[in-house]
Amino acid sequence: MASTHKQPNYIGVFWWLLVLTILEVGVIFLPMARFLIAILLVGMALTKASLVAMYYMHLKFERTTLGLIAVTPLLLCVLLVFALLPDHSATPHLTGAGPTTTTAPSSH
């Protein structure tokens, strides 16, 4: 229960969020492969989102079942991303099978 647990260090969490935000903005200017930068950015974003959920939304102090309710949409979204992956492999410019621009279908 949020009202009976020891109050977390809210200001400490704020500093972590601020530092991670500054790091995120700095990372995009690093001379690295964009794929690696994307992995770093996603990792930092998920860390920040987890800090907000666990401490500001008090999920760390709630019952596990409430945590499961919170995690369910995340799992479904991961499934959705995998469900959309075949669309990428069917894209002509990514497979090298066609031109880089698509043409609008002709009207009838």
């Binding site: 009202s3 935000t21 989102a49 907000v52 309710i69 369910t72 479904l76 990428h88």
Partner: protein, 205 residues
């Protein structure tokens, strides 16, 4: 029901063991889970369209990362003032509640003002729901839909929290209403959490 009482002896039989202090909190969490799937679908769709496009612009070269980084700072700060408002009402400090609620609302209003400025600037440069002078037209479509959907949530949050601020100023809020503030705080923090992801996926990657 008797099994529930046996498993959770400290729980009122009329309450769910999920949220023994509040059905409202359970309701808000279920709403937020559904809302998270809306945002998740938008971001997953954004990813599919972006990686399926050959001329998607690099967002940081088109969008103002500095301004949005400051907007992120504002929302993070407003989350801190929101938890401090909750802590204040939980210990019966109504002056602290009003002060921190007012700061939270102010943070939300500043965020919305900056978003309006950003949108105006981008529209003047030619970006629209159906057009993008920097590359793929769907860049503009996805940008305005995702940030607009989030902005609508922040607008709702500002109205939601303002209603409690007005009640507080009129002296109608008491320590026993802390649960209502906690439920409103969940909504506000969710807007912050979603922006953290939007900032990363739409502006930085």
């Amino acid at each position: 029901m008797s099994e529930v009482i046996a498993l959770h002896p400290g729980v009122d039989p009329a309450e769910s063991p999920l949220t023994p202090e509040s059905w409202g909190k359970l309701g808000m969490w279920i709403f937020l889970a559904a809302d998270a799937m809306s945002f998740g679908a938008l971001l997953a769709g954004y990813g599919a369209l972006r990686f399926g496009s050959g001329d998607w612009p690099v967002p940081s070269q088109v969008l103002g990362v500095g301004l949005t980084a400051f907007m992120t700072f504002l929302l993070i700060s407003s989350s801190v003032t929101m938890v401090l408002a909750l802590a204040a009402i939980q210990r019966g400090d109504m002056t602290g509640l009003k002060k921190f609620l007012a700061l939270t609302v102010l943070g939300g209003l500043m965020f919305l003002g900056m978003q309006a400025y950003e949108w105006t600037h981008l529209i003047e440069r030619g970006l629209s729901l159906s057009g993008n002078p920097f590359g793929a037209s769907l860049f503009g479509t996805t940008f305005f839909i995702i940030t607009g959907f989030h902005g609508a949530h922040v607008t709702g949050g500002v109205i939601y929290l303002s209603s409690y601020l007005v009640q507080g100023l009129l002296g109608r809020l008491h320590q026993g209403d802390a649960n209502q503030i906690e439920i409103a705080a969940l909504y506000w923090h969710f807007g912050d959490l979603v922006w953290i992801l939007v900032f990363t996926f739409v502006y930085l990657i």
